[in-house]
Each structure stands twice: as C-alpha cells, then as structure tokens.
C-alpha cells in the first residue's frame, strides 16, 4: 500500500523545489528538451529514494545531488554528442550553481518582476517563444522575420532581463 502522507510530503517538497531543480538541470544540458527528459527521470529517482530522505534534511540539496548524478549519466549516454559538455565542466558548473542557489532563487523571483517591466509586445514575444509547443522558425515566419532575427531579439531581451534581475538583487540587498 502507498504511504499517502509520505507521498503527499514528497509532492509538496518536489513542487516547491521543482523550479530550482529544473534550473539546475537546465544549466548543465544544452537544450530545454534534454532538461525536460532528465527532469522526468529525476522525479522518478527522487521518489524511489525518498524512503532514505530524512525529515528535516535539506530536500533541495539532496535533490541537486540526485540531479547531478542523473545529468552525468545522461551526458555519458550522449558522449558522442559534441553538443554536450564534458564531465569535468559539468561538475564545475554543478558545484557553482549549487553554491549560488540562494542568489539564483532571488534571481528567479526578480525575473517575473523584470518581465513585467518589458513593453507588452516584447513580453508577449518572449513568452510566446518559450511557450510549450512553439517553434521559433514558425514564430519567425508568422512575424515575417527570419528565425535568426527572432533569435537575436530574444538574445537582446534575455540580456536586458539579466541586467534587470541584477539591479533588482542589488537594490534588495541595499534595502
């Protein structure tokens, strides 16, 4: 029989920490599709191992450990794919993401605010580009642009958002 309270505890912890785990995984893998695939595996493994997770333990830190292992396993499977970083770099990045998680969390919170500051057409473009099922080449065609032109716009907007989140974090520290 399933231990429902334990299951609910897991669901709560997982859903609260999912954005951080996803961001961690995304930092280490080349595409959003890769990250999605590995996230599914991570969820399965976390639940399987949840019996060994002690109440009071840092779930995020524990989940990052599992995620790092799964990403490395995925990267090994794709060892011939030259778009995947080598293991030594993945380990360095994983360590640095985990070490800066507090800042990263604040950055994720600031992002929503910064996105709202974008002019409406740019915000809509950004969200449409990232919406599930969107293809950039089709989006570009619908806008009468080339895909490269759309990628460049998205790149500029991302840089603007990074800058904005940095300012927001600096201001919040000043307060």
């Amino acid at each position: 029989m399933i231990d429902l309270p334990r299951h609910e505890q897991f669901l709560r912890l997982f859903s609260v920490n999912e954005p951080a785990i996803h961001a961690f995984v995304r930092s280490l893998l080349p595409t959003r599709e890769d990250a999605r695939e590995v996230m599914q595996e991570i969820a399965v493994v976390l639940w399987r191992k949840f019996d060994g997770f002690a109440t009071g333990e840092d779930f995020r830190r524990w989940a990052f450990g599992v995620a790092r292992y799964e990403v490395l396993a995925y990267a090994r499977d794709k060892a011939r794919d030259r778009h995947v970083f080598d293991e030594d770099l993945l380990l360095t990045l994983a360590e640095e993401v985990a070490a800066s998680e507090e800042v990263r969390e604040a950055q994720r919170e600031a992002l929503e605010h910064c996105l709202q500051k974008l002019p409406e057409p740019q915000r809509e473009l950004m969200l449409t580009a990232y919406a599930p099922g969107t293809r950039i080449d089709r989006l570009a065609e619908a806008r009468g642009q080339t895909a490269m032109a759309v990628y460049k716009v998205l790149h500029r907007l991302r840089l603007a958002l990074i800058e904005c989140t940095r300012r927001e974090l600096a201001q919040s520290r000043a307060i």
């Binding site: 995304r26 099922g133 991302r158 989140t165």
Partner: protein, 461 residues
Amino acid sequence: MSTVRDEHLVWIQRYADGIASAEEVARLQAALREEAALRKVFLDYVQIDSGLAALAALAAARGTLDVPDAARSASALRRGPRSWFRARAAILGATVAIALAAGVALSGWMRDRGRVAVEIVQSEEARWVAPGASLPRAGERLALQTISLAEGALSLRLEGSGVLLKLSAPLEARFETPMRLRVAQGRLSADVGKLGIGFTVVTDAGEIVDLGTSFGVEAERGGESRVAVFSGKVKVRRGAADEGNAFTTLSEGEAVRFSALAGLRRWEHVAMAAEAAGILARANTAVVGAVRDNLGDDELHPFYGVVSEGLRPGSLAFTDKPNPRWAPQPEDRLPAWLEGADLIRTYHQFRYRRDYELVLTLREASTVYVLIDPRQPAPAWLAEQFVETGVRVGVGPWQQGLKQEAGVDVRADGLPYLAFAVWRADASPGEFKLGAPRDSGRLNQALMYGVAVKARATSIP
C-alpha cells in the same frame, strides 16, 4: 576587467537556443573552463532561460498567453486545441513523472477493487503510463480499474451504462465502481445517456454527479477542480461525501471551479472543450474576443457562449434554455447579411436584472445586432446607440404561457412563436456595452434579447 567578449555571448545564446554547432560548443566549453566570470554569465543566462520557460508555461496555463497556431509545431497542433488544459499539461510535466514514479504503489492501492468493462472508441496517439504496455487501439475491449494515461487522448465507452468518456493525458484515475470514477489528476469530458444518469466523478476537490448530460472536468491533485457543463445538468459539491456539503446544480453553459476548502467560484477559462460543447467561450476566429457582464464573481454565474458564425436557422437563442431557437422553421428566414454572424448566447434569466450590463470586446470594426421583443419599449441604451432595421426574425417556440399574450403567433404545432426586431449599430474595436432588456415596467414580463456580431465589411444590409 571583464573578460567576457561579445562572441562569448553569441556562443552562449546559440548554445541555450540549441542551435550552436559542435565547434561553437567546443569553443564555449574551452572558454568556460578558463573563465570564472564567463561561467557566472553563462549560469545567469541559462537560469533566465529556465525561468522564462516556467513563466511562459504559467502564462499559458492562466490563459493570458495566446500562442498563434502558426507558431506552434505540427506535433503540438496535432495534439489538439491550444487550450488552458494543454498548457497546464506542460506545467504538470514533472508531476506526471511523479505519478509514473508512484505507479507501483498506486497499483497496490487499487488492486483489490473490481474492474470495469470498457471499449476503446478512439485513440489519439494515446499511451499508457505503464512501461512496455501496448498502445491502446480503437475497438479494443478491456477490463480497467486504474487508468494512467501518459500521452494523447482516449475515448472509452463503459459497457452497461454506455457512458462515453474522453480522457486527455496526463491523467490518473481509477474506478471505485462502474458508476464512480475517482480522478487523481487530469481532465476528461463525459457524455452520459439515460442509463448513465448518476455517473459520478470524484476528485480531491469534491464530487460531480451527472444528471444526464455532457460535461468536462479538470482535476488537480490535492487542489482545485473545474467543471463546465455543455448540455443538461450536473450536481457539484465540494469536499468528501461524508462532509455533508450541499450540492449545487449547474446547468448548460455554467462553469465553476471549486476545491475542498474554497466554495464554488465562477470559472471563466472555459475555452477548453469548446469544440465538444459547440460553445466557444473565447473563440479564436470570432469577431467577439470576450464577453462579460457586471454581475460579479460573488455568486455563481455562468459564462457566455460565443459561437463563431453561429447565427443560423435553428440555432439556440439562450444558453440557459433548451428553447427558443432563432428562425426555427422553414417559414422563418434570416436575412443574408445577418446569417452567419457570431452569436452570443445570452442568459434569459438575466432579464430580471435592471442594472444589467453586457460588455463585448470586439477584435475589429463590427456591426452589432440586437434581436429584441418589439412588443416591449426599447430601452434607452438601445434607442440611443442603435437603429432599427425594420427586419423581424422568428424565434420560438416559447413556453405555453406566452400563448395568451398579444402579438404571439401560435403555429401549427400549437406552440407560441414571436418575431424579434433586429437593431443594428456600428462599433469600433474594443469594448461595446449593452444594457438591460427594458428600462421600466415589470422586468419579469420582459424577454431577454439576443446578440449577434459581424465584421463590418460583410455586414452592410
């Protein structure tokens, strides 16, 4: 001094967008190994990328993001309409994975109950969660107890009751009895015939009891459920059966969201199974982008159906009544300039509201038509904004009681019919406001008006 160069940023962008060449990845990798400052920029960049994906999924889930079909992948289009549910499914991706993880334990939870005989009517790229399970095929007969759908959509007919269920992944459910389905998470629509009256869907939020109808449900695990009634009636109550909460009856066109703790609330995002309902709450092709009233969310109110190009002979006039219909018989004719207009199915029950306001959001310059009972004085808002076209459109049949009234046409079928006057007004894109069906007198003697809208270029009488 920063060692991050423009070309580094280009490599990062191309890597994050999945379009970098192997050579560019190699260069980026070498630079990342060397430069801690670049690694920080890189991590900032992919963190933003991850956050944007989450926010986009959330916006789609909230219905505040409308992705044009032209921008979507063929597979995404094949999966179906871009509804609230589809976007939600993306957000719940990880939870699906948890469900997969929990599969073994769940199967034990469900093991001791009876199974229900079903026939698969249609499979739309459906796949069970269970690893290695064969793909469901149309015509296949199964004895099911648990339903764990990983992908696609599946239509099942329950043997005995004839209840037709359309299940859309990701979904987890189990039959508690042949007439009681517990949905842990996911969405379904049910079409219940006479033998299926009483079919009940149970979610973590409460119960939905079918009274012979078709309806749609979406359930979140441990959270909120949403119900939309396409035809007939259902009873809904929040919480577990033994909590004794009262049922609320929902009729055709009504939609609510509810949870175990919160009461019933109006649910406006019902574009979801609009195809099945023939009611488009937010039609993609309609001139009318949205419809709302001023009655607020504090009481249970239905949504307005906007049927794109829906004004046809025999089309239903109101959302809350099985009759009357516009131009119901061959002797009734719709003028060509009016036929095919977007039809807003108003609520007849709101004829009582003297302060009633109906606000249309028009996507382009349009002609708005109001079809109203000419036996009652035209309300001021109508007389001021609209002009009468002189055209009458038959509408009926009405309730028998109307036969005693003046100006009513009792036809060969013995039922009362009326001819409604057509008024028109040109409107610019944006909001356009209508009011109560009459200004004075006894409102319970008034009849509700109908509304139709056409893009202006094609609506000149």
